[in-house]
């Protein structure tokens, strides 16, 4: 919102002053990724909690009110052709949908239920409970978010704690994976308040967790069977989980730092990518991976994550260093009409999003929304990837950069900080560093620049600002910032500069 306003100001100045002509070229998101608001009939309250793609260009949309609608015509330009059929109702917050073999699997508060239309009238008739192997105390906070199917055909369910702090019923604060034959295998503890669960393009499982106790900032985390995700509130269920999880891990020490506690608590997987609180968003939700092989633009294999409070989508570039996931978060598209919860990217390269502002305020002003992001085919000038190197970072752009600005260390500014790892709610940014970009070496094709940065700090978010970088025709980056969570520093050659 702030950025959009700033753009408007720049445009206004541009009209007033010919000196600002170069600034008038400031790119806007909609030139590359326009957003279409899909019409919803007035009698439907479509507080989108999950979106799934069905055969025949049809979408299934699950809502917080517990309905599932089948939506036709949502892919086309003719918005008058969008139509809805109520497939199911009364399901207590549909926060996960997955389609397989004629069944629609819905993750709701109490269970994973699979639903089938037996008589061909587009209305579900058979509601089979697949798994209800977790507890509920009756607290509103006990949300259950479900994934689509993983490589082995499992559904992952991430279960919010009873509130922010405690686990009053079995497996609150855990991830379970539900096998095709309906067994629920306890897979991770340490979850606080998830907003979505999904996969990267290799099928690794990730979920988003919200700022709060043991979460200094909202973030994207890697779910590996047997892992601990940082919040010890749910660890009382290790005995119940038995050999699937092994012994209960050591308690993390409140007031410490992640980089220290991951050494003390070996089961703990450090946060893969922080989505820095109050900078990029405030409440991350659904996850989609761009597996469209270029149909959604240049960001192949990257993740797109919704935010319920900021009503935006953030892009994440992931890499695995020394066996640990880490990477960079970069703004993608903002300005949606309500807080995003469900996201789904189709193989044809259309990103469907939707959500609501109910219970937690959201930007946008609408109580709920259902929107679509298309790619125009134009390549935005963006940071495509940010990779850690032995002595800094390597930045890859979507297009060649202007060599003069890209090779000038003064075009870059970096800040670094981390969060307190603690039992209190959230954390300020602490342990600030001011890393210096001393060298910027541009590749021959102009698409990559290697930065030497000192110091690099393990466990810190390294926020890179690229305000001085220009394209050959003088355009700035669409989003001149990237926030890299540095868990590991790779071994490799230092930048060789004479």
């Amino acid at each position: 919102m702030t950025r959009k306003r700033a753009t408007c100001l720049l445009l206004a100045f541009g009209m007033l002053s010919p000196l600002a002509a170069s600034e008038s070229k400031a790119p806007v998101e909609a030139e590359y990724y326009p957003v279409t608001t899909l019409p919803v009939p007035p009698e439907i309250v479509l507080e989108v909690g999950a979106i799934e793609l069905l055969p025949g260009d049809r979408l299934a949309v699950g809502t917080r009110r517990g309905d599932i609608y089948l939506v036709d015509g949502a892919m086309g330009d003719d918005l008058g052709a969008v139509s809805y059929v109520k497939f199911a109702e009364g399901l207590h917050e549909v926060l996960g949908l997955a389609w397989r073999d004629g069944w629609l699997y819905a993750t709701i508060r109490q269970e994973v239920v699979r639903i089938r239309d037996e008589d061909g009238d587009d209305r579900g008739d058979l509601f089979e409970s697949v798994s209800d192997a977790w507890g509920l105390s009756g607290d509103y906070h006990e949300y259950a978010f479900g994934s689509r199917f993983d490589r082995e055909g499992n559904l992952w369910v991430v279960l919010c704690l009873t509130g922010s702090f405690t686990s009053e019923a079995p497996y609150r604060g855990w991830a379970l994976r539900v096998t095709p034959d309906g067994r629920a295998i306890p897979s991770s503890s340490g979850i606080r308040s998830p907003g979505g669960v999904g996969f990267d393009c290799e099928g690794e499982v990730f979920y988003t967790d919200n700022q709060g106790p043991w979460n200094g900032s909202s973030s994207l985390k890697h779910l590996r069977p047997g892992s601990f995700q940082g919040h010890p509130g749910g660890n009382r269920w290790y005995d119940r989980a038995g050999e699937a999880m092994g012994p209960r891990p050591a308690e993390p020490k409140s007031g410490s730092r992640i980089a220290a506690e991951r050494v003390r608590v070996p089961e703990y997987i450090p946060t893969a990518v922080f989505l820095p609180h109050a900078r990029l968003g405030q409440s991350p939700t659904g996850i989609a991976c761009d597996d469209t092989k270029g149909k959604f633009g240049p960001f192949r294999n990257q993740l797109f994550i919704g935010d319920q409070t900021y009503s935006n989508v953030t892009r994440v570039y992931l890499e695995k260093i020394n066996g640990v996931y880490q990477g960079a978060a970069i703004p993608f598209v903002e300005g949606f009409q309500s807080g995003l919860i469900g996201v789904r990217l189709t193989p044809e390269g259309q990103l469907f999003v939707g959500g609501s502002d109910r219970g937690w305020g959201a930007r946008g002003g609408k109580p709920f929304n259902f929107e679509r992001i298309d790619w125009t085919g134009r390549i935005p000038f963006e940071v495509l990837a940010m990779r850690a190197t032995a002595d800094g970072f390597e930045i890859e752009f979507t297009e060649p950069a202007d060599a003069a600005t890209a090779a000038d260390p003064a075009s870059y500014r970096m800040e670094a900080f981390t969060y307190i790892f603690r039992s209190d709610y959230g954390s300020p940014e602490v342990d600030q560093k001011e890393p210096v970009v001393s060298v910027a070496m541009v590749s021959e094709d102009g698409k990559t620049v290697r930065l030497r940065v000192e110091p690099l700090t393990l466990g810190h978010v390294h926020g890179l600002h690229l305000d001085g970088v220009r394209s050959p025709d003088g355009r700035p980056l669409l989003h001149p910032e990237a926030w890299y969570t540095l868990n590991e520093i790779p071994v490799g050659e230092d930048l060789n500069v004479r």
Binding site: M1, E89, G90, I108, R109, Q110, E111, G359, G361
Partner: protein, 560 residues
Amino acid sequence: MTPPAAGQLFVDRSPAIIKHPPWTMQRILFPLLAFLAAGSGSTLAQDEGEQRARAEKTVAIRTLAARMRYDVAEFSVPAGARLRLVLENADALPHNWVLCAPAEDRGMEVAQAAWEMGVLGLERDWIPDHPGILAASRMLQPHETQILEIDVPGQTGVYPYVCTFPGHAMLMNGIMRVTGPGQGIADLTYRFYLGAFERVPDFDALRPHREGKLEDGLLGFRLDDYREQFAVEFHGYLDAPQDGQYRFFLASDDGANLFLDGRKIIDNDGIHGSGAIRERRLQLNKGRKELRLGYFEASGEEELFLAWSGPGFEETALSEWVPASRRRGERVRDPVQPGIPLVPEDEPVVYREFIQGASPRGIAVGYPGGLNVVWDAGPMNLALIWRGAFIDAQRHWTDRGAGFQPPLGYDVFSPAPGQPLAILEREDTPWPAAGNPPAGYRFRGYRLDGDRRPVFLFDWEGLRFEDELEPRGMFSSPQAGVARTLRWKEEPPPKLFFRVAWGSAITPGEGGKYLVDERFTVTPDPALKAVLRQAAEGQELLLQLSETTRLAPVTYGWPQ
């Protein structure tokens, strides 16, 4: 209390540990001073504070757990008064309380400014540099309390307050109404009575249905379930600012009588509309007057208007409702929430939210015709039957949806709690204690039959059971009830019993019908062996499952 020294307009008296320096004190002081110094916005404290004692008022505001709201959405305080605000954070999230300069936006501009602080907000407790901020608490952590002392501005008006933690303000807001001379009734309370009245009754002879305070100092009634046939007695105090001539105006539908210091001032009794505004002139001495107003509503519209004028102030409403002819400017007020009743029209409606009287796995079904059930996928049993309206979804479909919602209708009963099936080795083997979920059971879902009525499915010890429920009759008919058929396909083990009723006293009646505690009836299929026996508490009715029929039908209803 120590008189406020300069620079002490805002005092943090919190016993809680201050985690961040209370820098906000300086931040808010200057805007507040600037505001107070501007034009007519001077406080009584500045004008006459040394000459006369200032009004003092204490207001307690609590954040509601899991509802993203303050418990007080509106309160009134006299201009220039000393306000002692006790702010308690009963929620599990951090919240603050920020008082804003008068604006129609409910504090949203200030909240937006806080939101746009970005990461700076973390350091500054989300208090932006904004001229509209008059006072602010700290960011209270869960279960912290802070006491604020605030000099209420001299300017009358509507002052919004919000929580500036990003995202909270849209729900967490309220208004502080600063009243001038003649505005509002102090310590206003009401008593609400039910009855078919044709005149204002003698309230002393009646027992109130409910009573409470009206914090905004205005006559009004919150109508929930009773919109006809009620009466209200209001009590409070009016402050006459000086000796002189006063005029009172009263209109009501139906009747109302106004008393001042025990004397009837205006008689507007009887059944009528609110078109005629009755007026009375009165000489009053300066000071506090006891106000009493009796009102009743027979049927139709319910309206009540009271206003007064006097030396130094024009006609000022003392009621929420003001006839169109007397309105000046619009008041800021939340619309009364009408509820979201779910009405099964052509088909059953399924509703799986938290239902009072069932476990968190309850599945409510409302059938056309006004019969309703909850089948509970916790104990795998029929949990509730009732008739009349189905359910109000407002609790769950607004805000965060916290809490358990009771049925909207009436004649609610629970046939038998706990698990439906058990093997009883001996006649006196007690029914197993409730497990949740009970051992040996697994929920399997439900299928919708041709009328889209759910048939519930569960496994017990590997055997599949179907629990089929079918409404009988209309809710108001003598035959009203719910027919239940438990079915299974494979041979059940011997001595397997189905508990169909539990209560303090179960009485066999005619036609195989049993009466349970005068609350409900149960009629098992006569083909099944029924066992009525003493339970640990009360009595229970068991059916032994038959190996031949493979179904166990019972019908539930209400006593005639």
